[in-house]
């Protein structure tokens, strides 16, 4: 049997190694199998080995969905390569299926002749029944198009874990829970990945229980040794590091980047950051992360509900802090009335909306971009707010920083849109220097100097941000309409209309903050692809594929500001014969573009809770331009 003490150099294989440039791998198992842990760890290892990566965790909303069922399948798709990686890939080169449900649910994404690693210990009759397999896929011929590797994962893991006594007793059940690391060990061998980052991870994660840490390490090594010593695999693959720009890198997810961006904004603006949030998938990690940065003058409160979270943040801004609240779609709905008060009283506020599948509870753990119109128009009355969206996990840092800069400068709530795909997705990040971040300018009124709370800055049109507690500036403000000059309650019809236009003009004016739109491709041509948010990588990859196929007249622009829209957008759109707007909704940005610029922008929509594949966008381009 396999032994972890066997004298095998687990750093170097003696079998043949083939070089390859780009691999898409998919880990699939039950939601309690630790799939997210090994997926994340494998990605981390790839990043540490210099590859570019894009990850796509895809898991059910239930913490422990019914075991062994297709509904309970947790997946982690990961693409790593020696070139630039922009999407998690359409189809995978390898699928690791820990049970029949995972196999059934995910095998259709595996490339023809792809590697299929199966845990044969989980193909008993009861397992097949739970997975709703009428016949056993292992012998019904349905997997004939793949390279199948049958592994008795449970038995092998048990043997490895319990081979010699552990520092403390471990139950069989606990031992079996190490099988995800056995699988990871195998995959590490298959792609010649170092085990060291995972060993470190196991030590820090399970350090308090030495027997569990030891058992997981044994399973990990045993997985590697199994591949090296048995004849299951004849050769492995090697992926050279990507050519990254020089500098200091770290691994980052969208939610981490959002949290860091808010801290950076507070530091640059020399303002305390106050975040109040109510836990909600997939945004909770922003609250978790920020609650660990208290040393950076960050205050976090877990509010009693979504409404309270928004109201506390506005109260904090009224008191002179940078008020923030993070949520997902259902929470955005609940916060809208509070947002309208912040717009009416002209106080800064950051609302982070990590979009997920809707309507209602919808698809809590899946991704979508269907909150755009709710963000722009979701409030009663004429109630404009700037909307900013991030385009990649690390871009969340820069985009939320920009949102904060605008909120503070123009004294307005800004809605910052990310989505489930960005929030949980990870990538390597070239860490920026704080010196490269734009300054955040604000003049909080902290003494009585003749300036009144409703006097406006002629440049930004923003009213004064009075630090309450300042002697001599006692003022009252609320949601009732305010007199344009004094801020006192006013029911005057002309004043109300003037205030409405003033609020609009203030937000419209923000368009001057938007840098010239970057056009990827020719300045004019046959087709302009217009995107926003997390679709950037898929659109760019699809364009690249079409260019390689000979389509020369395609360009891409990607919008960071959704309200106001970039001032040069109208001109750019008119320079192309066709405009295609891929979005994970039913055509929200395309509707805005058609309405504002009166041109036949074509929507390309997907609302499956899944990101676009490159092929979907590429096919749509072909449908417009014809194949070449």
């Amino acid at each position: 049997m396999l032994s972890t003490t066997e004298t095998v150099d687990i750093k170097k294989t003696v079998k043949p190694v083939q070089a390859t440039k780009d691999v898409v791998i998919y880990f699939a198992g039950d939601s309690g199998d630790g799939i997210q842990a090994i997926g994340g760890q494998f990605g981390h290892t790839c990043v540490r080995m210099g590859n570019d990566i894009v990850t796509f965790p895809d898991f059910p909303a239930e913490i422990r969905a019914p075991a062994g069922t297709q509904a309970g399948v947790s997946g982690y798709q990961l693409r790593f390569g020696s070139g630039e990686v922009l999407t998690p890939g359409d189809n995978y080169d390898a699928l690791i299926a820990l049970n029949p449900a995972a196999l059934q649910a995910r095998v259709k994404g595996l490339k023809t002749n792809g590697l299929l690693i199966i845990n044969t210990d989980k193909f008993r009759e009861t397992d097949l029944k739970k997975a709703q397999c009428k016949t056993n896929p292992l012998d019904d011929g349905s997997l004939d198009g793949y390279q199948i590797f049958r592994v008795d994962l449970t038995k092998l893991t048990r043997a490895a874990v319990f081979e010699t006594p552990l520092p403390a007793t471990l139950s069989t059940r606990e031992g079996d829970r190490c099988q995800n690391f056995f699988a990871l060990g195998m995959v590490c061998w298959l792609y010649q990945r170092s085990l060291e980052p995972t060993v470190q991870y196991i030590k820090s994660k399970f350090g308090k229980r030495a027997e569990i840490a030891e058992a997981n390490q044994r399973a990990l090594r045993a997985g590697w040794v199994y591949c090296e010593n048995t004849e299951t695999f004849a050769s492995s693959y090697e992926i050279a590091p990507a050519k990254h720009a020089p500098g200091l890198y770290r691994h980052i997810t969208g939610n981490q980047a959002t949290a860091l961006g808010l801290v950076a904004a507070g530091q640059k603006a020399e303002l305390p950051v106050f975040l109040a949030s109510y836990p909600i998938t997939p945004a909770s990690d922003i609250l978790h992360q920020l609650s660990r940065y208290k040393n950076m003058n960050v205050t976090t409160v877990q509010a009693e509900d979504e409404i309270a979270a928004a109201c506390m943040a506005i109260g904090a801004s009224f008191a002179g802090a940078l008020g923030c609240t993070s949520t997902s779609g259902p929470g955005l709905d609940l916060k809208q009335e509070a947002l309208s008060l912040a717009i009416s009283t002209e106080l800064p506020l950051i609302v982070v909306d990590v979009q997920r599948g809707g309507p209602s509870t919808g698809l809590p753990t899946k991704t979508e971009q269907a909150d755009l119109l709710a963000a722009i128009y979701g409030r009663h009355g004429e109630c404009p707010a700037p909307i900013i969206a991030a385009s990649s996990p690390s871009d969340c840092f820069f985009a939320v920083y920009e949102a904060a800069r605008i909120a503070i400068k123009y004294r307005t709530p800004v809605i910052f849109l990310t989505d489930g795909y960005l929030a949980n997705g990870a990538e390597p990040w070239l860490i920026p220097s704080s010196k490269t971040l734009a300054p955040i300018v604000h003049k909080q009124l902290v003494e009585r100097n003749g300036v009144m709370p409703f006097d406006r800055d002629p440049d930004t049109m923003a009213r004064q941000w009075v630090r309450i507690g300042t002697p001599g500036l006692e003022y009252r403000v609320g949601g009732l309409e305010k007199d344009q000059k004094t801020g006192n309650i006013s029911y005057d019809p002309d004043n109300h209309e003037a205030m409405g236009y003033l609020r609009k003009a203030k937000i419209d004016r923000i368009e001057r903050e938007i840098p010239p739109t970057v056009i990827d491709g020719p300045e004019s041509g046959d087709l302009l692809l217009v995107g926003w948010g997390s679709t950037h990588g898929a659109i760019k990859s699809a364009m690249g594929r079409q260019r390689q196929a000979g389509q020369k007249g395609i360009s891409q622009i990607h919008l960071r500001f959704l309200n106001p829209l970039p001032p040069d957008l109208g001109d750019i759109l008119k320079r192309f014969k066709h405009v295609l707007v891929p979005e994970m909704n039913m055509g929200q940005l395309s509707m805005l573009i058609r309405a504002k610029y009166v041109l036949p922008a074509k929507p390309l929509n997907k609302v499956k809770g899944q990101p676009f594949t490159i092929t979907e966008i590429s096919n749509a381009i072909e449908a417009i331009l014809g194949g070449k």
Binding site: Q267, M312, G323, E474
Partner: protein, 345 residues
């Protein structure tokens, strides 16, 4: 005129006039809110707190117009949510004295969730609950404190709702200061507001307030000279629970029940009576249950008062502690570079 009042700043003692804003007060003539406004202005003038350190926060309703009439900082927010705004304010500037003006609809109906949580957290705010048992601003619908069967605009056949008890609710939320007072007893109102102002933590004050337009006389039994001696019980710490025209009545504890006794009929002696003790939660709970319709007089005064750490002190304390423990990492570049990094050359 301006929303900023340009009263000269001075170190001299302020008067109630200094707390009047330049806004015309627009409550209905005869509304109980006027008395509360005047007493509050008077109490603030008596406190040793600079005017700019006071903030009045409100939601929506007649009572919620209160901040506009106070020459302090003020925030008229959205319906029911004043406690959440106040919590945000206190977390950023804990030294401010924050008041919440709210009504029975604002606090107990739409804002019920925020009310229970601000009380349990013990955020350092003074909550003035104007309880008139009716919706005034929307013209006369029943509220969460309206009695069962109440005939109102929205309940022509009588309200099917059972009312809740604000003081019991507050005590159930682990309140640290719970009191009841009346709009028509100016002296008691002033004393109670003063005691609330001095409390560190959430001070919850129910003010029985008359809406002379939609629910006139709701509390007259407890405010009229003729009836109030028998219908109300004035709580004074350390003093026996006595009431009646000549203080001849009292309250005695019989097993777990509060029992009214008439000393003039020899039912009990003064030493048999309970003594008011605002530090005794069980007594406060028992007193809070008195409805005034159960043969017992309605308690007026401070039912409960204890010291407990305030939310904002703990929240700010954590920030200060973290800053003291990790001062070296206190800049953006160190933060971004914390954890695992690698160099590409």
């Amino acid at each position: 005129m301006s929303a900023v009042t340009t009263v000269p700043l001075s170190a001299v003692k302020l008067t109630n006039k200094d707390y009047e804003s330049d806004q015309e007060v627009r409550w209905c003539p005869g509304c109980g809110d006027y008395a509360i406004l005047r007493q509050t202005q008077k109490v603030l003038a008596d406190l040793d707190i600079p005017r700019e350190k006071h903030v009045f926060v409100s939601g929506i309703g007649c009572s919620s117009r209160f901040p506009y009439y106070m020459n302090t900082y003020g925030f008229h927010t959205i319906h029911g949510r004043a406690p959440a705004f106040a919590t945000g304010i206190k977390c950023v500037q804990p030294d401010l004295t924050v008041w919440i003006a709210t009504g029975d609809g604002d606090a107990l109906s739409i804002g019920g969730n925020h009310l229970i949580h601000i009380i349990r957290r013990n955020v350092g705010v003074k909550i003035l609950l104007f309880n008139n048992r009716i919706y005034g601003l929307t013209k006369g619908q029943y509220s969460p404190t309206s009695s069962f069967g109440k005939l109102t605009a929205s309940t022509p056949m009588g309200s099917p709702d059972h009312p809740l008890n604000p003081l019991s609710l507050a005590l159930g939320c682990e309140a640290t200061f719970v009191a009841r007072t009346l709009d028509r007893d100016l002296e008691h109102l002033g004393q109670t507001l003063h005691a609330a102002a001095k409390h560190k933590g959430t001070a919850f004050v129910e003010i029985l307030q008359n809406c002379n337009v939609f629910n006139d006389g709701e509390w007259f039994e407890y405010t009229d000279k003729a009836t109030k001696p028998l219908s109300t019980l004035r709580l004074e710490d350390g003093q026996p629970l006595v009431y009646g025209q000549n203080k001849e009545r009292g309250i005695r504890l019989n097993r777990f029940t509060l029992e009214p006794v008439d000393m003039s009929k020899g039912e009990a002696k003064i030493e048999d009576l309970m003594k008011a003790d605002s530090s005794d939660l069980n007594q406060a709970l028992a007193l809070s249950r008195i409805s005034g319709k159960d043969g017992l007089p309605l308690p007026i005064g401070v039912l409960y008062k204890v010291e407990r750490n305030c939310f904002e002190d703990d929240v700010v304390g954590q920030v200060r502690k973290a800053q003291a423990e990790k001062p070296s990492k206190n800049d953006i570049d160190s933060l971004l570079r914390a954890g695992e990094t690698w160099t590409v050359s």
